[in-house]
Symmetry: C2
Subunit: 273 residues, 2 copies
Amino acid sequence: MAMMLVNGTPADSIPVTDRGLAYGDGVFRTLCAVDGRPLHWARHYAKLNSDCAALQIPCPDAATLLAEVRAASAAVAQASVKIIVTRGSGPRGYALPQPCVPTRIVMADAYAPMPQNENGIHLHLCRLRLAHQPALAGVKHLNRLENVLARAEWSDAAVAEGLLLDQTEHVIGGTMSNLFIVENNTLITPDLSRCGVAGVTRARVIDLAKQAGVTCRVEAVSLQRVLDADAMFVVNSLIGLWPVARLAERSWAPNALSKQVAQWLKADDAARH
Amino acid sequence: MAMMLVNGTPADSIPVTDRGLAYGDGVFRTLCAVDGRPLHWARHYAKLNSDCAALQIPCPDAATLLAEVRAASAAVAQASVKIIVTRGSGPRGYALPQPCVPTRIVMADAYAPMPQNENGIHLHLCRLRLAHQPALAGVKHLNRLENVLARAEWSDAAVAEGLLLDQTEHVIGGTMSNLFIVENNTLITPDLSRCGVAGVTRARVIDLAKQAGVTCRVEAVSLQRVLDADAMFVVNSLIGLWPVARLAERSWAPNALSKQVAQWLKADDAARH
């Protein structure tokens, strides 16, 4: 049973006039909490703050949100937590309400462990192409119809994720995850300056690689480059790391660097407990 | 005081788990009702139905929705009505919920007459460029952050609307309206196959022009073509028609064909009372 707080008060609904509903005018985060303590909180809050800034939404303060995340997740040993911040309610029309009173929603569920998928997942190659919108690129906002339409392209339960390309045929990531490829013991993750969501786990992998002395670059990635890579994996805050075993006709064997990155992430999680 | 129905029942809130909030996973309509009778209902319902189909959302049936629009707007002589249809609630994640139980929201307010602006409005030339997404182009969905960001570019109350261009510098329309230009007694409205919202009033103008024997074409329109036009106007269901008097350094005098189109729309509204 989910625990939900709306502006700090137990509640399971929001006003129909909220701009989060009317326009998708808000941002969100998904993260894990252990014994009421959110993992990688500083990173998640920093990202929430910068995503709010991109939309000119005043970000709720860190202490208030942290207290709400702790309260919502305290009752379960392992929780998956979703935070939504919207621009709040306003009169009809697109103009920003003055003053702006953001709505904050914190939802915590008992964490249903995601499949380990240690042997690797199958990826669907999505037909939908992501649009280029530099004003929103990287931001985890509530305008997610592209992800919904892409995810609706397959229903085979054996396919865990879909691979999204943009309008210029560059690989961007998964529908709910960021992507890395391995080339000669180097990590490459797609440039997200025109579309996609720049997730916290992606940022952690970039930093952990640097600490370990492994080269990790952010670059434009073509589909052919993915197919030619030594290995590929996807990451997010709930799944950790899933190696990719198959995309279309191409299959990959387990890879040493991919395994190493998975271990970095697990050790880093454990250090934050 | 607004009258609100959620799934036919008086209510002013929706579950926080609704995908309309989580992903902007839904569509909407804005229209006028007179004495509880929505104007141009058949067109609005047809558009709602086709927008739902674009998102693979089962559209509520016409009789149910019409009864709710009438009930919500019955108490006021002139009402502005907003209809939202979302994919409803579902488990976490982008995958479509099975079964899908859409949420329908009908809100009616006493209609605050929009400024007549018969002498023409000032247009802000938006810096934001609309992204190309053919899978969503034309659809009035709930992913409207581009409109929000564009509308946030100006706060001068003397500027009534903003002009939006796309990534390839084609003129698309207003932030909340569709656009027509007049060239030698011909009407031109931008092609919306890559972005923008194809509104009901735009469709009415196209049909009314045809009935009147006035040529009206859907074409790619550059900013220079707009500046060179004999006249320009914007339309939507609430404002009717606003002539454009000024954009940047360019100003326009009142135009006979623009006035004629405004009269067509008013006569067509009156015929539906």
